[in-house]
């Protein structure tokens, strides 16, 4: 019998269709997740549903840096132990969390909520760049770290921001691009290797 002839419950197809709308979830994965949810104990699913609802009710964007937060301004913006004179600019909150997990940066952040992508209709006005400029004018930092992805669009975003603030006499830096730890030189592509050479550091 052809699978297409099997009529599935509208509740299941509704669940599959909702899961399918999530980023990174294709139709097959959505089906697998849906049937996993159906087979799971009720208390587990209730707790999953609760945390989904809570995340929507309690989380918002920080008015200052636009990171996802429970309190406004966020913990990072109000923490006096952090260097508020340094702003690291990232594309999304998830990038700030990635940097936070390294414990190597103790400054503040500014979340752009995306990157410039003209082909998708996303220009500077669709990002939080104007809020960043106002933030800098209100409280000038000593350093801006541009930590957008090293792609053409990420780089165009970094270049645009740097052009907007270069006259404000602030040190502007960009995250280095190069060979990853544990990587082999002969496995590294030419562009990355060239960039690594150009960004080489003097051993003191």
């Amino acid at each position: 019998m052809n699978n297409k002839n099997i009529s599935i419950s509208s509740v299941i197809s509704d669940l599959i269709s909702h899961l399918n709308q999530l980023p990174g979830i294709g139709p097959k994965t959505a089906e697998r997740l849906a049937f996993h949810i159906i087979k799971s104990p009720e208390n587990k699913i209730t707790s999953l549903a609760d945390s989904l609802i809570k995340s929507k009710q309690k989380l918002s964007f920080c008015n200052n840096c636009f990171i996802v937060t429970e309190i406004n301004p966020c913990n990072i913006c109000i923490n006096e132990m952090r260097d508020q004179k340094s702003i690291c600019i990232v594309q999304d909150s998830i990038d700030a969390y990635a940097i936070e997990s390294t414990n190597s940066y103790n400054g503040s952040y500014h979340i752009l909520n995306g990157y410039i992508s003209p082909i998708n209709g996303i220009g500077p006005n669709e990002l939080t760049i104007s809020s960043l400029i106002k933030r800098i004018e209100r409280k000038p930092p000593t350093e801006i770290i541009l930590a957008t992805n090293p792609t053409i669009e990420g780089d165009a975003t970094a270049t645009y921001i740097s052009n907007q603030i270069k006259e404000k006499n602030i040190k502007i830096s960009r995250l280095a691009v190069g060979i990853p730890f544990g990587g082999d030189l002969d496995y590294t592509d030419q562009k990355t290797l060239t960039q690594a050479f150009n960004s080489r550091q003097i051993i003191e």
Partner: protein
């Protein structure tokens, strides 16, 4: 087990979007098959000896397996990369406009080889900051290749040769009417200035090579107004807005 057909081809990556957790889908313009939609697995997570750095606006050699309506890339080796860092917003946006136009017109296969070399040439000029000229040149050559370039040599109604002057371009009829005939006709139109018509004729009849530079008189004469008029003309035919266009206009105004 399904037999897979393998394909080696040269192509230009014209657009991409993220897919799943680690993958990316690329629209690759090839000289033989037009736009090929291809997935590159795990490209956002790991470096791989089979792949050079891949991003939009790169000419590469690809090895792929063909699936039903897309293909999976197994190898990609760089041949040419146009946009070097730092990347200007106007250049990125112009490249995106060329990508959007190429995708919108990707239906007539006999033009693939010509369009491929046209895209390559225009990306080269954009990387040399000649973005307005590149866009106008691309519009004109694309319209010619698709057979919808407007008639600007003779009047559509009386067939008399058009004398130098300003004229109205009839969108519906795809051409211009002489002053006598246009007075008698009602239509949706665009005003083309004398120097714009001259420029249109010149670019129509000239193939520039890759080495064109900013000091060339034609690149200096070409302005945004002609681009906007041709864009209105193209939109009339495709009925599609270009998302990149409003970002180009706002970035130029700034």
């Amino acid at each position: 087990m399904q037999n897979r057909e393998y394909l080696n081809f040269e192509g230009i990556t014209i657009s991409s979007y993220e897919y799943g957790e680690f993958d990316k889908i690329f629209n690759i313009l090839s000289p033989d098959k037009g736009i090929i939609t291809a997935i590159i697995k795990r490209i956002r997570k790991t470096s791989n000896n089979n792949f050079d750095y891949i991003d939009i606006f790169q000419k590469m050699n690809f090895k792929a397996s063909l699936a039903d309506n897309f293909c999976i890339i197994y190898e990609a080796k760089s041949l040419q990369s146009w946009f070097e860092r730092p990347i200007k917003l106007t250049n990125l946006t112009s490249g995106n406009i060329i990508a959007e136009l190429t995708i919108n017109f990707n239906s007539i296969n006999e033009n693939n080889n010509y369009i491929y070399h046209l895209v390559s040439k225009c990306l080269q000029w954009i990387s040399n900051d000649m973005f307005i000229f590149s866009l106008v040149y691309f519009q004109i050559k694309l319209l010619l290749a698709e057979g919808i370039f407007p008639e600007i040599e003779i009047c559509l109604k009386c067939n008399n040769k058009i004398k130098p002057g300003n004229y109205l371009l009839n969108l519906m009829e795809s051409g211009i009417f002489c002053n006598d005939c246009s007075a008698k006709t009602k239509f949706s139109n665009l005003k083309l200035l004398e120097q714009e018509i001259r420029l249109l004729k010149h670019i129509k009849n000239t193939e520039y090579d890759n080495n064109l530079n900013l000091n060339n008189i034609i690149t200096q004469k070409t302005d945004l107004n002609l681009y906007k008029k041709l864009s209105t003309y193209i939109k009339f035919y495709t009925n599609k807005e270009l998302k990149s266009e409003k970002i180009l206009f706002s970035s130029i105004n700034k």
